[in-house]
């Protein structure tokens, strides 16, 4: 095994850029640098088009290769993900890094039973017989606490409820005991009472199995519920990182502040919300200045002239804003 050195991060993305070619070029990710320690949970928070899902898919090389340009470096568990050949990539997917999605109906195959799908994922990575694989599949369904697991092993996805399908998809993702689980809005389509069940399950599985998790969501409440650290994305860049506590109690970037206000964090009834005006930018050009400046109430001339600096406020606490930099410098 080419596992990483002790103490090395599980995930290290360095200045990653993702560009989609086509009738219009889209600069979806513009210089993302992030690390994840083994056994930790990073929440990536952002709105539609912020590049959070693209960042996640880059880690699993799920983007269409023929029209995607990826720059920078992506290391997971000591592997250079962008350099993996077809066979190595197939071994990597599921075994080292696995992913769960918003819509389990699309992630599960409708013509196979849940048990068959999980068993297939196990035998793809381990030399064991079908009977043993089915036994393992049963254990996985028990692990994700699906009621009557023996019966559900033989069920097709459409025979399950939404929350149960989500659990089955988690079981499938865990089939080859990955070190890194990528979660792309896995609870967004669920009712609140089911969402909290799935979040608690993911939290427990992550702890029990010691997995690293990157959890992408647009919902701050959900991110706070599951994450150790947060990264806020806007227009393909991470604008602020820190622990959950730091970001919620002391947000620095104007976009993070606006997002918290828009989530009615401390909003008072009947008062107007501090809404962020305007809409996110089109991404047909790589940013050369602060992407948030056109919507920012605190924007100054410097914001239009160059990319904002990544200001380090503490370990893993980074804010991309000229105001943060100015505040640090003695007058």
């Amino acid at each position: 095994m080419n596992s990483s050195l002790p103490g090395a991060p599980l995930v290290a993305m360095e200045n990653v850029t993702v560009r989609f070619r086509g009738a219009q070029t889209v600069h979806a990710v513009n210089g993302v640098t992030l690390t994840l320690e083994p056994g930790k949970v990073l929440g990536i928070l952002g709105e539609s088009g912020s590049g959070k899902s693209v960042t996640l898919k880059t880690l699993l090389r799920l983007l269409p290769e023929s029209r995607t340009d990826i720059g920078g470096s992506v290391m997971v568990d000591g592997r250079d993900v962008l350099a993996l050949g077809p066979q190595k990539l197939a071994d990597y997917r599921g075994r080292v890094t696995s992913m769960i999605f918003q819509d389990p109906m699309l992630a599960l195959d409708p013509v196979y039973t849940v048990g068959e799908q999980i068993a297939e994922a196990i035998t793809r990575h381990e030399k064991i017989g079908r009977r043993e694989a089915m036994q393992r599949a049963l254990e996985l369904l028990q692990l994700v606490r699906i009621p009557s697991p023996v019966r559900r092993l033989k069920a097709y996805p459409h025979e399950m409820s939404g929350g149960m399908r989500q659990r089955a998809m988690i079981a499938l993702a865990l089939a080859a005991r990955p070190k890194l689980l990528l979660a792309d809005e896995p609870t967004t389509a669920l009712d609140a009472t089911v969402q909290i069940q799935i979040l608690l399950l993911l939290r427990q599985l992550q702890r029990d199995l010691g997995m690293g998790v990157i959890f992408v969501t647009h919902d701050i409440g959900v991110a706070v519920e599951v994450s150790d650290r947060l990264a806020v994305m806007y227009a393909g860049q991470i604008v602020e990182t820190g622990t959950v506590r730091e970001l919620i109690s002391n947000p620095q970037h104007p976009y993070t502040k606006g997002l918290l206000a828009a989530n009615l964090h401390g909003a008072r009834k009947g008062e107007r919300l501090e809404a962020i005006p305007g809409a996110p930018p089109a991404l047909n050009e790589a940013p050369s200045s602060c992407s948030f400046a056109p919507r920012c109430r605190q924007a100054v001339e410097a914001c239009q002239n160059s990319l904002p600096p990544a200001v380090t406020l503490g370990e893993g606490r980074i804010v991309r804003c000229v105001q943060t930099e100015a505040a640090l410098q003695p007058a």
Binding site: E47, A192, L200, I220, V222, L264, K269, E274, A275
Partner: protein, 346 residues
């Protein structure tokens, strides 16, 4: 030209004390064949007072959207009655056409709600022309309304729906709903598909319009934070029935129905030091086909007792008295061990 002129039917016929809308035993069942029936809305009673916002919450399948569609008369009820400002909807005093001019709806899917072949000013003007307004006048109104919802008519009036963002399209849908000068606007997950930063803009707009036009809202949403923020009173539905209804702060701070309590405690805490440790309910929302006997929540209720499986609890005054809850624990002498004694009620 003042926008207030559009509110032709704003005359308060019944007086301030009469609810703007009163639903009495509203029922809508969908037969599935072979005797199976989805009891989507099953004997729902509620009032919407003039000028208030009534929030409606509940899990998927609880009947909140079907209730909205029946209130809007997009689908007819199987039983029950609706009074609008004291007059029965569909009666000689208030024809369906007159009612529909005064009640309008905004849906979740901003794109599916607009005709892709009409420019947005034509979409907004369409309703008024159907109701007899001359085309030029209707277009002028449409442009005024576009400006009012924050879309510059010079830039946007001639555009087609696909040329707008989701937030902009939802503003168009709101403008269209206002084109006939309605008194009641039903917002069915109207901000749910929007990004949070855009959602906040639209919520601000809705609050401004409510003030300016003296509107009454029925605000349906799965987002309990948003409902708390915008509503005056909240109605909680479960499997086609109302389980609790009352003033928003009272209901959020001291929920009396165990289902309301569970729903509220399923909200993410927003506090990393005080995370949710236990899910309030197990399993998925049940199927509204063949709902349980007695209290429909009893199979999932931690406090259920024998009486709960046998008798259906009626909505009963609780809290300060402005609130109703359908739970045997609130009904004096119901037979539940936690129910108040009969003499307390007297």
């Amino acid at each position: 030209m003042s926008l207030a002129l559009y509110v032709e039917d704003g005359s308060d016929r019944g007086g301030a004390g009469t609810p703007l809308l009163e639903a009495r035993a509203l029922t809508k069942h969908f037969p599935l064949g072979r005797g199976a029936v989805v009891r989507a809305v099953d004997g729902v009673d509620f009032q919407v007072l003039k000028g208030e916002t009534l929030g409606v919450v509940g899990e998927s399948g609880c009947g909140k959207s079907t209730t909205a569609r029946v209130v809007m008369q997009l689908i007819p009820q199987d039983a029950g009655q609706m009074l609008f400002d004291g007059e029965a909807v569909g009666s000689a005093a208030l024809s369906l056409k007159d009612y529909r001019r005064q009640a309008q709806m905004v849906f979740q899917d901003s794109y599916a709600s607009l005709n892709p072949r009409l420019t947005i000013e034509d979409s907004i003007a369409f309703g008024p022309t159907v109701h007899g307004v001359a085309k030029t006048g209707a277009i002028a109104r449409a442009r005024d309304l576009l400006a009012r919802v924050g879309l510059d008519p010079e830039r946007f009036a001639a555009r087609y729906p696909h040329e707008l963002s989701g937030g902009q399209r939802q503003r168009v849908n709101i403008a269209r709903a206002l084109a006939l000068g309605p008194r009641l606007v039903i917002l069915d997950e109207a901000v749910s598909a929007l990004d949070k930063s855009v959602e906040a803009q639209v919520l601000n707009l809705l609050m401004d319009l409510r003030e300016e036009f003296g509107l009454t809202y029925i605000f349906i949403s799965h987002d309990l934070n948003v409902v708390r923020f915008i509503s005056d009173r909240v109605m909680v539905m479960y499997l086609g029935e109302v389980v609790e209804i009352g003033p928003v702060d009272e209901l959020y701070e001291d929920p009396r129905h165990p289902y309301t309590r569970a729903l509220l405690s399923a909200m993410p805490s927003m506090d990393p030091d005080n995370r949710t440790m236990e899910a309030p309910l197990a399993g998925d929302p049940p199927n509204p086909i063949n709902p349980p006997e007695g209290c429909r929540f009893h199979p999932r209720c931690p406090q259920a007792q024998t009486v709960c499986a046998k008798a259906k609890p009626a909505l009963t005054p609780t809290g300060t008295g402005a609130r109703l809850a359908a739970c045997h624990m609130e009904i004096p002498g119901s037979g539940h061990s936690r129910a108040p004694a009969l003499e307390d009620a007297a």
